[in-house]
Symmetry: C2
Subunit: 259 residues, 2 copies
DNA sequence: GAGTGGTCTAGACCACTCA
DNA sequence: GAGTGGTCTAGACCACTCC
């Protein structure tokens, strides 16, 4: 512990935050460890409780600490990184009966079972939001199948994914069912003769807003990756998937043309 | 304005934040607008000043508001989105004498001049950090050229990019100079016979830490995109670029193989 | 029940901005 | 100099957790 410098330009609460941050990054307090309580720090530094709270507020905003009412404050461990590789939509995976996310989790050595770890949030026919309809080359009035799911891996909600499939492509296939079968939506589309030729992903980082923040169990201000994937069969967009990912839980890899 | 519900489970400061947030999203207060002062809100809601501050702290953490000491609190306008397209490293751009970032900014219609908007932060020969050296297939002892630059577009710092080039590839070329010439590093590498075959990008989202937070002029807790690009000529990695982007200022597009 | 964090009030002094 | 936000203290009541 560094003694406070009351004559410093740096605010007391920042000095306390600096002290705690240093201890965290130095490993004095590891991920999941309980940090000193407010009253302990009040005694240690000889400051008001609100000043200690202010220091913690800073560390929480930085994503280093989280708070549990009645229990204490703890070092935020980064969720283990899930790598999304650029070949995750390779046909061989679909042929092997595996959906892209399943492939990723297996490669990462995660305990993941699509049957129990994917919750259906919404499954209906309806219209698509304008931005999605535009990507599908549809008007807002055209009907699509809407499938919203939440993926929870090892107790951690990782992503909310909403797929939109033009109704004429989904009807009469397992895409309409809760369980789309081996290889997922893309496998079913290819079985129906819509061979995928191209997949694009547009991604942006946002600060989580309700209800995504709640569904991913994120703290206020936490970033999410908003990823919109469009799958093409020839010139036709056959599916759009609108996904929100727990940003700090993923690493994404892509390959770019150099030619 | 919604009157406060003192008997509600929802904290007073949250109710005030909800009220302000609703006004912001409804456009009552547009980007850059000054929000009501603390004393005004104290009078309006009949609460303590600290409670108003608590409400603002929430909106600031959410990235909706920023504060200027002595002046007021203002609606945070999202920086205009810069789209990074998947073909930005196409050879035709280099042939046309344009670096990838230049291409992007032109396509976005931004006023951007590489001669004045790129600041050199570091230019030296030395060793690369371990993670970078590994990507280059080098040992930590091997010498590389290090080029760190900050890109400021229309007054907004957008990215900090540090390139690492094995010294044997950089020596004797303009890559060693502050100005790498038309088409940038990649154009010079190709002129030396190192025809680029493949470019990979690995990206992760992080909460900005010093000094990146300062260099990008970001508020506490703001997300950055940490992007590591590796350029290959045949099997050899000829450059690694380690970049931090202002996360909310960019939208990235990629194309994925479906086959 | 003891300890923890969550919220709210009252009041104070300060630093900064803008006219 | 008036108004703004930044910081700090003192004290209070409450809700939650864990034993």
């Amino acid at each position: 512990m560094t003694p406070l410098d009351r004559s410093s330009d740096r605010a007391i609460y920042r000095q306390i935050a600096d002290d705690l941050r240093a201890d965290i990054t130095a490993g004095v307090h590891g991920p999941g460890d309980r940090l000193p309580s407010e009253s302990e720090l009040v005694a240690r530094y000889g400051v008001n409780r609100r000043t200690v709270q202010h220091a913690f507020a800073l560390l929480i905003a930085e994503g280093l600490v989280y708070s549990e009412h009645g229990s204490g404050r703890f070092v935020q461990g980064r969720p283990p990184v899930r790598r999304l590789a650029s070949d995750r939509f390779a046909r061989r995976h679909r042929r092997a009966g595996k959906a892209a996310f399943t492939v990723e989790m297996e490669q990462a050595g995660r305990a993941y079972d699509p049957a129990s770890d994917v919750e259906m949030l919404d499954l209906r026919t309806g219209s698509a939001p304008e931005a999605i309809a535009a990507r599908l080359g549809l008007s807002g009035a055209d009907k699509v199948l809407v499938r919203a799911r939440r993926y929870v891996v090892e107790g951690l909600p990782l992503q909310i994914a909403t797929s939109y499939v033009p109704l004429d492509l989904a009807e009469g296939t397992a895409i309409m069912s809760a369980d789309t079968g081996p290889g997922g939506i893309y496998a079913r589309l290819e079985e129906s003769g819509h061979r995928l030729t191209r997949i694009t992903e547009d991604l942006a980082v946002e600060v989580a807003a309700e209800p995504v923040q709640r569904l991913l169990r994120l703290p206020v201000g936490a970033p999410v990756i908003h990823l919109i994937r469009t799958a093409f069969a020839g010139e036709r967009a056959v599916e759009v998937c609108d996904t929100h990912l727990n940003a700090t839980a993923f690493e994404l890899s892509y390959e770019l043309p150099a030619r």
